[in-house]
């Protein structure tokens, strides 16, 4: 049974995502130690420095989505099932940095599909209390694991359906943000397919640094940031970094 990591990376006019990818790949190599497949386009691929053995698959990202008025090429996640060459796949945002091997063990569960539904704010502000932003508890599609199975295939079919009619679902669930967020697409699909009663989840919260945290240093062991004139750091803990200027650190 093959296992691997699937990453999506597309540079935009404003953000050099390939620089974030390089950091992410380095940490996966160091801590997760699984084969990596990167879904990208040729324009981004040309800028990525040599990273050793990596499978690259080229697609043209679906355009049109934005975040804070800027281009945001994040709507191809529904293709993960078809694009993954692995029996069990760990899909991660490239701004999720693995400073531990915590995720590795989840590839050996009997679950077909696992996703976290909690985020933990490392700045102690509980910024990610998302419940008030929609009528549906959201999941964090930042990290998820799936097996190539009939159940997973159906989940991805449902994800595609929700994505296709997202404007309708967005209004029905009274989701505050109008742009397409994978977190909501996945949450809606899992809820609908799960008979509206629940689905299997990771039992941990994604440790996350909000966008207003400036990353000042990143090593192989951890990350340091400043916020409100305070400096803080964490080591040996996986961290989701929302400030894309981490590309320049």
């Amino acid at each position: 049974m093959s296992q691997g990591v699937l990453l999506f990376c597309f540079d935009t006019e404003h953000t050099r995502y390939h620089k974030i990818l390089e950091k992410c790949v380095h940490l996966i190599r160091r801590n997760i130690k699984l084969e990596i497949t990167v879904i990208t386009n040729y324009a981004t691929f040309k800028k990525i420095k040599p990273l050793g053995f990596i499978n690259y698959k080229f697609i043209e990202p679906e355009l049109g989505n934005t975040k804070l008025g800027k281009e945001w090429n994040n709507v191809d996640r529904h293709l993960a099932y078809e694009l993954s060459p692995y029996d069990t796949t760990l899909v991660m945002d490239i701004d999720y940095f693995c400073f531990t091997d915590n995720l590795l063990q989840y590839l050996d569960t009997g679950y077909d599909f696992l996703v976290p539904d909690q985020a933990y704010d490392l700045t102690d502000r509980d910024t990610f209390d998302e419940r008030k932003w929609s009528m549906i508890p959201m999941v964090w599609a930042t990290v998820f694991i799936f097996k190539k199975s009939e159940k997973s295939r159906k989940i991805f079919e449902m994800i595609k359906y929700v994505k296709k009619y997202y404007r309708y679902f967005n209004a029905m669930y009274r989701i505050y943000s109008s742009n397409l967020r994978n977190d909501y697409v996945f949450a809606i699909a899992l809820q609908q397919l799960g008979g509206f009663v629940g689905y299997d989840k990771f039992p941990f919260a994604l440790s996350t640094l909000p966008p207003d945290c400036e990353i000042v240093e990143m090593t192989d062991d951890g990350i340091a940031w400043t916020h409100n004139d305070q400096i803080n750091f964490i080591e040996q803990q996986d961290v989701h970094v929302l400030n894309k200027e981490v590309a320049d650190v």
Partner: protein, 105 residues
């Protein structure tokens, strides 16, 4: 003591409180283990439950983190893994705590 020193102590206390909260979250994330294709927390409740059931049963059922039942056929091995992971995380937390003490918490 002047108000500046008191403010400095207050800032330090806050920084340490946040760092301590983060260290505890880190310990909780690390306390999760996969055993027999299911997910468990190596927390005091699970350890006590397994130890209690083990006293009178060679095999028994427990619930994983998604409330699915799992048959435990090797209670000694399972308990050993739970304790090992629990103590690994608390040891790391203890070391972090020591650094707070040095800072004057």
């Amino acid at each position: 003591m002047d108000i500046g020193s008191l403010k400095k102590q207050s800032d330090l206390s806050y920084d340490i409180a946040v760092a301590k909260r983060n260290a505890l979250e880190k310990a909780h994330a690390r306390q999760i283990i996969v055993y027999n294709e299911h997910i468990f927390r190596a927390d005091p409740q699970t350890i006590c439950l397994v130890r209690t059931l083990k006293e009178t049963n060679d095999t028994f059922f427990v619930l994983d983190t998604n409330s699915n039942p799992v048959q435990i056929t090797d209670p000694t091995g399972f308990l050993s893994k739970l304790i090992e992971r629990n103590q690994e995380t608390l040891n790391a937390y203890h070391q972090t705590q020591q650094t707070f003490t040095k800072k004057g918490a």
